[in-house]
Symmetry: C2
Subunit: 338 residues, 2 copies
């Protein structure tokens, strides 16, 4: 592809926006009107094994299908936003590296723009999710927001003065890989003591397995068929906590403790008005996590003046945060001239 | 003072700027021309015991004295910037709390503006120092900078897209009070495991005292008259390291390790182009600190793509970083309309 000579696709007269959430198992596309309402959507599986360009074709198909549902076409669309796993470069739309897609150096933005012939803007999926909550969800009306999404890992997004912070290499917001316990447990990234290594669902599952290996009694032995091979879902965590399983409550409490410290670190660095927690683990286990996160965070704030006004809240948009955020990012970048 | 009715002092036609660095022992004032050159300066002691308003009068006097040196007057000044200890509110110029001045709730900006009758802008002293390095020192030409100043504590400043990040309560940038070692040593702030508790000069001195109490041999016993009461100066650290004192090198290495982790945390969250280290400890001991900080930081970056381009450098402006930064902040805020 003659990348350097290529111009950004022309801006269309359309008033619709499209948001796409590109995951390792599914592609979610949504058509969004100018008020930020989803007016149509479609879903496709992600054909990871068939390579990047087939995946991108499926993304385009998902967009066309969603548009067809409301008798619209790509000509009615002013821009497309994508939330993708990364590290990636939001300026060029190049995905440097995405293990769950088996991608290295894929020009996602450029290629999708060629296929759809409409301006495409690519962002990290967690950034898109945070932006969605900021513009249309629980963060509506604020200017300074930090998003924290604990799951298999811990994703983060930062909005300051109304603008998404992407950083000089497009990799800002990696809260999950900040060290909170130097020389602590090994993280999936190979380092020690990352927030992810002590407060992600991966860390929680590791702790349960180790405890069971060492003879601790726990409801998980009944709730999970093969504790050694299977991941413990967020729903199962809630079930075990509901049943007052001592080990589950202990691990949830420790997770909340470290998430509270991570929250305080983010507040001490960025001083936002709001910290938004989202993702399946928070949705399922908020009762056991959120109050303790708030308590620990307050304890670790360095400046407590007005700190009671810093809201620590749950996300509202669920699975639609990323598509909505991606669509809004496309709109706001088109407005700002790219 | 009828605070609410008071208007900001009128902008003057003058082309000069003034920067003031308000410390617990001295007040440094500098007259700065529009090219960012210091054209006159003056110094006064800080009469802490006489109360806030006498201190503010001394600040005004220092300004007038510096102006007199170049036959100028306050009418030639378009604005005054102050770097002050705090938590403080840069919007109103109110210093919430400054232990080394014995201040609580002092309307520094408003009062100095009354006394001088010229617009005054107040910022945290570390923010001002970082801004000085960004605009006129080692960071000239960059857009995204993090400043880290290890000393008695560890101060931090953040500039993103060319703008100082102050946060929703004016307390952003408190890198020294982010937790890097959960449940670690107690910090001056009362919490455990802050960066300050493991990597400030205060932490270093604590470690030397403990080692000596436990019978370790070290040059510090000779170099410091009363190791129990006296603080170990940055110069003494350099002397001990120069003499290859094993304990000194060990503590410097550990300090650099934690500063490297703190740097990586800041990079993983903010993804700046440059991290600037400043202050007396860095100036005196850069040989033993900077290479190790760079090495550890690189090891703890989550995204290593292009990370070799992130510069970790020493500050250039020394004692003048804060006055220059405060002056530039005044100018840039006047330009932006306050």
């Amino acid at each position: 592809m003659p990348k350097k000579k290529k111009k950004k696709a022309e801006k269309r007269d359309g008033t619709l926006l499209v948001g796409i959430d590109l995951g390792g198992t599914k592609i979610l596309a949504a058509v969004v009107d100018k008020n930020g309402e989803i007016v149509a959507k479609s879903k496709k599986s992600t054909p990871v094994a068939e390579g990047a360009f087939v995946v991108i074709d499926h993304m385009a198909e998902a967009v066309h299908r969603a548009l067809e549902k409301i008798d619209a076409s790509i000509d009615d669309v002013m821009g497309v936003g994508v939330g993708a796993p990364g590290p990636l470069d939001p300026k060029t739309g190049l995905v440097h590296f995405a293990p769950n897609l088996n991608w290295t150096g894929v020009p996602l933005g450029g290629r999708l723009e060629e296929v759809l012939d409409v301006p495409v803007f690519v962002h990290n999926d967690v950034d898109a999710g945070t932006y969605g909550e900021f513009r249309l969800g629980v963060g509506k009306g604020t200017d300074n927001v930090v998003g924290i999404f604990p799951g298999t890992g811990i994703g983060g997004g930062i909005i300051l003065d109304g603008r998404l912070i992407t950083g000089s290499r497009g990799s800002a917001g990696e809260l999950g890989h900040t060290i909170v316990l130097a020389d602590g447990p090994v993280c999936g990234c190979g380092k020690r003591g990352c927030a992810e290594a002590v407060a992600s669902r991966t860390a929680m599952t590791r702790d349960i397995r180790l405890a069971v290996q060492n003879g601790r009694e726990t409801a998980f032995v009944e709730l999970v068929d093969d504790l050694h091979d299977e991941r413990i879902t967020s729903g199962t965590w809630a079930e075990a906590a509901e049943a007052k399983d001592e080990l589950a409550l202990e691990v949830l409490d420790r997770t909340a403790y470290y998430l509270g410290i991570l929250t305080a670190n983010a507040v001490n660095i960025l001083d936002p008005e709001m910290v938004i927690f989202g993702g399946g683990l928070i949705e399922a286990c908020s009762h056991w996590l959120m109050p303790r996160i708030r308590q620990v965070a307050m304890q670790y704030y360095i400046n407590k003046l007005g700190a009671d006004k810093i809201q620590i809240v749950e996300a509202q948009l669920g699975d639609y945060a990323a598509v909505l955020g991606a669509a809004m990012l496309a709109r706001d970048r088109l407005k700002a001239g790219g």
